[in-house]
């Protein structure tokens, strides 16, 4: 596998604690074919680099204005900081000079080898509390060359690799990835074509056939369901999910139910984008518990 394949990386999260067992590093790639209404990481949707600006963290120090080559940051006459996104070329220069940790550049182009090297810094920790690397996004399966390149290097180094995917990519991509991935975390967001299209823009045909493909090729798969009250939350929906998975012959797979949270909201603001669904409420544990009950406790570990 080529280790010079490049991909836009949103961030590399070390000591990540919920993207699989043990101590892990999660690599978030940019670019995603879906547009989930509840997206937790909207900065990863597009492949292009983008500057995230958290207005509330800004201290008004004006240093960004001093370094920006395009005048995207500016200080008003009364000493307030302003930011004109249309002028921003996402070069990232302002980020390091920010005294408020208010700026973040999502989308540095990195080679698989560079990412590998960064992940390997924590190799000692992956061994201590058995974990590894989770490749997430965005949609990492959208970049089979990069992802397979990174995964194969990790595999050679004896590091466990989880791929976090929503499955909405051409089947060939999974054929490339299959040999290098220890486990697939496979998102099932809806179990009906219309719903999936409406909520995420995704194609259920692809999602279903890729899941079956992985299953048939003996891949280890875990189903992940982001539970959004009002959409796919509740006991009734859990029953439908269960039936859907059974129809695909995937009834025996473990299912993680992940409560929706509103962490993505601030990011929309930081991206200067309109939140498509500001009315969504966080998912209470009771909804998760009810769904676990329906799907079966044996298949929905705590």
């Amino acid at each position: 596998m080529p280790d010079n394949a490049e991909a836009p990386v949103s961030r590399i999260q070390h000591f990540s604690t919920a993207d699989g067992p043990g101590i892990r590093t999660t690599v978030f790639l940019k670019g995603c074919p879906m547009r989930c209404l509840w997206c937790h990481n909207p900065e990863t949707q597009t492949a292009e680099p983008v500057l995230v600006y958290y207005r509330r963290a800004c201290r008004g120090c004006g240093l960004c204005a001093a370094v920006c080559p395009n005048g995207a940051h500016f200080m008003t006459a009364d000493g307030l900081h302003g930011y004109d996104r249309s002028k921003c070329g996402a070069c990232g220069r302002c980020v390091r000079s920010c005294t408020g940790n208010a700026l973040f550049l999502s989308g540095r182009l990195m080679t698989a080898a560079e990412v590998f090297e960064d992940c390997m810094k924590d190799a000692e920790l992956y061994a201590a509390e058995p974990g590894g690397v989770t490749i997430s996004g965005g949609e990492p399966a959208l970049r089979p060359e990069f992802t397979a390149g990174l995964a194969s290097m990790l595999k050679d180094a004896g590091i466990n690799v989880i791929l976090d995917t929503a499955g909405c990519v051409p089947a060939d991509n999974f054929a490339v990835l299959l040999p290098y991935i220890d486990e697939f975390y496979y998102d099932i967001k809806a179990c009906d074509a219309a719903e999936l299209r409406e909520w995420t823009g995704g194609d259920i045909g692809l999602v279903s056939s890729n899941l079956v493909f992985l299953k048939e090729h003996g891949a280890r798969v875990r189903i992940r369901v982001p539970v959004v009250p009002g959409l796919n939350g509740g006991r009734e929906y859990a029953g439908r999910l269960k039936a859907y998975l059974e129809r695909l012959g995937c009834g025996g797979l473990p299912v993680d139910l992940l409560p929706f949270h509103r962490f993505g909201f601030a990011k929309y603001e930081g991206l200067g984008r309109t939140n498509p669904c500001p009315e969504l409420a966080p998912c209470p544990q009771s909804v998760i518990d009810g769904m676990k009950d329906v799907i079966g406790p044996a298949r929905t570990p705590p």
Binding site: Q13, H14, F15, S16, T17, A18, D19, P21, G22, I23, T26, Y54, R56, A57, G62, L63, C64, A65, A66, V67, R93, R96, S97, C98, T99, G100, N101, A102, K121, D122, E124, L125, A128, E129, H261, R262, F263, F265, A266, E269, G270, P282, Q285, P302
Partner: protein, 727 residues
């Protein structure tokens, strides 16, 4: 672990009651001792003052006391109500005229030799004093005779103090007999324990703990603060094991007793409005190579986690091979928001102390006093330390010895920085400024300490607990102890310094974007009109991200500070340690410092303790710990502090705690000295919502990713708050 405690429920309301306050009687009672002995040698008069204090102060008994001893005796109660205010006042004045040692002159922050005291008990100790006095007499050692006479007076007074408590407990038990027979029986048992302790050495866990507690309370009555218990698990465990084998105690029973004693540390908060910092060190290696975690270690840890009070400052001495489930229990305690125990690395602290030539078996019994200061238990005079504000010397090096804020000459003239052609020239000037600063610091401290005539400031009671004051017939501060006094210079601002030097090297000498002259002008102008330069300085690599440039300066910083202070000796020939801990002094210290080359504005806080500057460790906790373990901390004999914050969710499950445990082990394998982990409580999150400016470095770790709290919007903050309630 953290099961319901009956004694806690009963004692909590009693201890928390404001109760009697008003007049402090301790000075008056000392005076009553002094006035009978004005004509006698000073140390004898002092011993009588201690005697009068221990005998006369009020002995408070709680209805639910299992372990007797309270600091409520500081105040007026009962009989002494008849003493007039003017008598108390003039008594206080007279007692005060005798003077007192303070923290700066070796009065408190010490861990007594409890192992020896438990072995001998009160009568055995009195016997030892008398024996030694005979020897002193034989060799014609008049000072020895007098010093031992003083110790004898103090120790006999302590015995009477214990007996008076027994008497009070008996009469309270009698009063309670009718209405609360259970409490009455418990108090009778406590009284019996106390009576027995006046006659023999302790034989049971309860007796041993009671004796330790009486000593601690007596020290408090003397006005001492931050007196440490040291390796409490180590010297109590043999009693526990014996009792357990005999079937007279079990885990829960021992835990109740420990709570019954330690919960009363909270009295200080109730009565004086501030917490005591009574350090307890659990775990740790023994000199024979065995691990020190015993069942009593679990009991103490559990008791502290259950009590949820800031008083006992619990330190866990980590060593390779420490049981995983002990670390798990420790992390559960941390996760309650209590933050204890702080984790200390034996693999760093033991070599750090061995360097000073202490005997191996003494070093392995080290403990902490106060917050984190390493101490050889029972073998050193009390601790002292001070703050050494290092970034000031960089300011002076960049300004030819002149303070940028005041224009006053504060250091040697080390040349016009505009002439510095390289980083080496600057480091040379900085070295000279720091050397000068260290000399000034040491002179001030030693002058203060030498200003006290040791023969006139005896500590007869304290001396009974420190090896080998009794044998030598010398006071603790007059050569009685096995080892001399040490002093800790708390060097402040490692993050500010590493970042500043890295920024200078990068911006001025590598990129050559600006020159030193411009930098100095910018610093003096507090960066007004120098946004471009400041932006470049802020963008330079920062300590705490695993970046080699600032890490190199952090390494230099530690070894240079050690080299500076190693050259000095305390008045009795002890070492000057360095420490990298400053509590919250980084804030006032920052007020006195001009803008620094890391981009910090004048007056802003310095970096805290051994941590990176606020908010500058942007690559997560692992990278931060990697940087933080770069310097050679075995040169930091006093100790250091780093703080990391995690959300309570991290501690909620065994899997989460296992990850934290491995992170700590990783850090300690790399050579980290200390880590304090805070599980950010709901209260903190609420406060951070109100005062975002004070929480720029608050990282919340939820759902497997972390975010600066301030970057989240209110909806999310409320979500986190809602969850925190469950965690």
């Amino acid at each position: 672990m953290m099961e319901r405690s009956r004694i806690l429920e009963k004692l909590r309301p009693e201890v928390s009651a404001p109760g009697q306050s008003g007049r402090v009687m301790t000075g008056y009672y000392r005076y009553l001792g002094y006035r009978e002995h004005y004509d006698e040698p000073n140390r004898i008069a002092r011993a009588y003052a201690v005697r009068s204090l221990l005998l006369n102060t009020y002995k408070h008994i709680y209805d639910h006391d299992m372990i007797l001893g309270s600091v409520r005796g500081f105040f007026t109660a009962g009989d002494d109500i008849n003493v007039s205010d003017s008598d108390v006042e003039s008594g206080n004045r007279l007692a005060a005229s005798f003077g007192d040692r303070t923290f700066g002159t070796n009065s408190d922050h010490a861990a007594p030799d409890f192992a020896a005291f438990l072995r001998d008990g009160i009568p055995g100790t009195i016997e030892r004093i008398n024996l030694s006095r005979e020897n002193a007499q034989k060799r014609g050692d008049a000072t020895g005779v007098e010093t031992l006479d003083a110790m004898n007076i103090a120790m006999c007074a302590f015995r009477d103090f214990v007996l008076l408590y027994a008497g009070e407990a008996e009469s309270r038990a009698e009063k309670l007999a009718r209405n609360d027979p259970e409490a009455s029986a418990e108090l009778s048992a406590a009284a019996e324990t106390a009576r027995k302790l006046s006659l023999t050495a302790p034989e049971t866990f309860r007796e041993a703990l009671q004796l330790v507690w009486f000593v601690y309370i007596a020290f408090c009555m003397e006005g001492r603060y931050a007196m440490a218990f040291g390796r409490l698990d180590k010297f109590l465990d043999p009693y526990y094991q014996r009792d357990r084998a005999a079937g007279i105690i079990d885990y829960d029973g021992a835990r109740e007793l420990v709570i019954a004693a330690l919960y009363k540390i909270r009295e200080r908060r109730v009565l004086f409005g501030a917490d005591d910092v009574s350090n307890i060190a659990i775990g740790g290696l023994n000199a024979d190579g065995t691990g020190g975690v015993s069942e009593t270690s679990y009991i103490i840890l559990d008791a502290v986690a259950t009590m949820q009070i800031p008083g006992p400052n619990l330190s866990l001495r980590y060593y390779e091979g420490i049981p995983d489930d002990f670390m798990d229990a420790a992390l559960r305690s941390v996760g309650t928001g209590l933050g204890y125990p702080a984790m200390m690395n034996d693999a760093v602290n033991i070599p750090a102390l061995l360097r000073h030539g202490y005997a191996k078996e003494d070093v392995y019994d080290y403990c902490m006093v106060g917050c984190i200061e390493n101490f050889i238990q029972g073998k050193q005079p009390p601790w002292s330390d001070g703050r050494y504000n290092t970034p000031k010397y960089l300011e002076l090096a960049l300004n030819n010895g002149v303070d940028m804020l005041t224009g006053a000459s504060r250091g040697p003239a080390t040349g016009d920085p505009a002439e510095f052609g390289s980083m080496d020239d600057l480091m040379d000037a900085l070295g000279k400024q720091m050397r000068f600063g260290a000399a000034e610091y040491v002179a001030c401290f030693n002058n203060l300490n030498d200003g006290i005539n040791h023969a006139r400031y005896d500590q007869p009671f304290l001396s009974c607990f420190f090896d080998d004051c009794i044998g030598r017939g010398r006071d603790i501060n007059e050569g009685g102890t096995v080892y001399p006094s040490v002093h800790g210079a708390a060097v402040m601002g490692i993050g500010t310094m590493a970042d500043s030097l890295a920024a200078i090297e990068k911006v001025i000498f590598i990129d050559r974007q600006y020159d030193l002259k411009t930098l100095v002008l910018a610093l003096k102008a507090d960066f007004e009109g120098y946004d471009g330069l400041r932006a470049a300085l802020v963008a330079a690599p920062k300590y705490g991200n695993g970046d080699p440039l600032p890490d190199k300066y952090a390494r230099w910083f530690v070894s240079f500070q050690n080299e500076l202070f190693s050259a000095y000796r305390t008045r009795d020939g002890g070492a000057f340690y360095i420490g990298i801990a400053s509590n919250t002094s980084n804030i006032p210290a920052g007020k006195e410092i001009a803008a620094t080359p890391d981009g910090r504005k004048a007056g802003q806080p310095l970096s805290d303790a051994a941590s990176p500057s606020h908010g500058s460790d942007r690559n997560g906790p692992v990278a931060a710990l990697r940087s933080l373990s770069e310097p050679d901390y075995s040169l930091v004999s006093c100790g250091s502090v780093i703080n990391q914050k995690y959300s309570p969710a991290m501690f909620a499950s065994p899997a989460g705690r296992a990850k934290m445990r491995e992170l700590i082990k990783f850090y300690f394998r790399k050579g980290g000295q200390e880590i304090q982990i805070n599980s950010v409580s709901r209260a903190v999150l609420e406060d951070a919502l109100e005062h975002p400016e004070a929480y720029n470095d608050l990282v919340v770790r939820v759902s497997g990713f972390s975010a600066y709290y301030n970057t989240l919007d209110d909806a999310v903050k409320f979500d986190i708050l809602a969850r925190t309630e469950h965690a």
